[in-house]
Symmetry: C2
Subunit: 196 residues, 2 copies
């Protein structure tokens, strides 16, 4: 006779790295990076904070690395059909949306050492350009420029949404709110238009 495991003792879904990262991302998205603590994360998972260390031995460091990987590793589809300009435009739209949706992890993406995440994304951009017939050197430069622009623009947007009003008008002489979508597309045009 086989025992039903769900009946006894602690019948809750066990912890896993994936569940931990997801719960952490949920906290960051909802309450901000500053409120992500091991204790609060434990609460959200209905577990003592110390249980997390069993799955992430490097502790909070490893947790933050996981968040970066989850958000920043989003390569372009090099096998997509169409002009490389359109493929990159579509990727950039998606990547920007990703960064804005998880704005709280942006400071981590910016400085945290996590080679694999961004390197893979960068390689996919080069591949799109290479397949599109752009020379190797120019492709490397363009991939770098594009990723830099998307990340930098997302950073400006995250900061900017707060000072659309009076502050921006006073300090910059700009008239009213910024249409960020249009701004981003226009800047994207500048970057892609500069690739030869």
């Amino acid at each position: 006779m086989v025992r039903q495991p769900s009946i006894n003792a602690q019948n809750r879904t066990p912890l896993s790295t994936e569940r931990i990262i997801e719960a952490a991302l949920h906290i960051v998205d909802g309450q901000g990076l500053g409120r992500l603590t091991m204790r609060r994360l434990g609460d959200a998972l209905e577990v003592e904070a110390m249980a997390i260390y069993h799955h992430l031995p490097r502790g909070k460091e490893q947790l933050l690395d996981g968040l970066v990987a989850h958000v920043a590793a989003a390569p372009a589809d090099a096998s997509a059909p169409g002009r490389w300009q359109d493929v990159l435009r579509a990727w950039a739209d998606g990547y920007r949306g990703r960064l804005l949706a998880h704005a709280g992890v942006l400071p981590l993406v910016v400085t945290r050492r996590n080679p694999a995440a961004l390197a893979a994304t960068l390689a996919s951009l080069r591949e799109v350009l290479r397949r599109g017939g752009v020379a190797e050197d120019a492709a490397a430069v363009a991939a770098h420029t594009l990723l830099g622009y998307v990340i930098g623009h997302a950073a400006l947007e995250v900061r900017g949404t707060a000072d659309d009003g009076a502050a921006a008008r006073i300090a910059s002489g700009e008239d009213g709110a910024v249409d960020w979508d249009a701004r981003f597309r226009a800047g994207l045009g500048v970057v892609l238009g500069g690739v030869r």
Copy 2:
């Protein structure tokens, strides 16, 4: 008879917001953002941590805002002679150097609300373009694109210096170390070349 103030009691230079910010920046540059604590900052200033609150009533929040202002507010010289391309290239070089020299505050520049600092910088870029004969709309787009690129590229550089070696080669197929200076200049050419 006038008393000599320097003789008595606590004859040390009194605290000031400027001294506090400078000491904080020194800690961040030397030991990283994570090691900037009010207590350590107090030690560096030879004062109890609580004394800082007398000069920065909003506490650490205000301290971090001050760091961002100190690093990110570096406008271009709109009255400089020469082609606008050269003026912006010179500004970009300087701004990049600034961000890299204080890489520890980069995550703060990226997300911390501090309208004045970036808005003033942005306005100066627009002014350079406007004086150079670029149309208002195109100037606004280009200023935004340029600042976004410089910040984003600096972020990639800060992260990248760690994975120049094997990690980058494996993940990206790139051959060896990246010449960041050349990369930056080339990307700058792409961005400026795209402005019409």
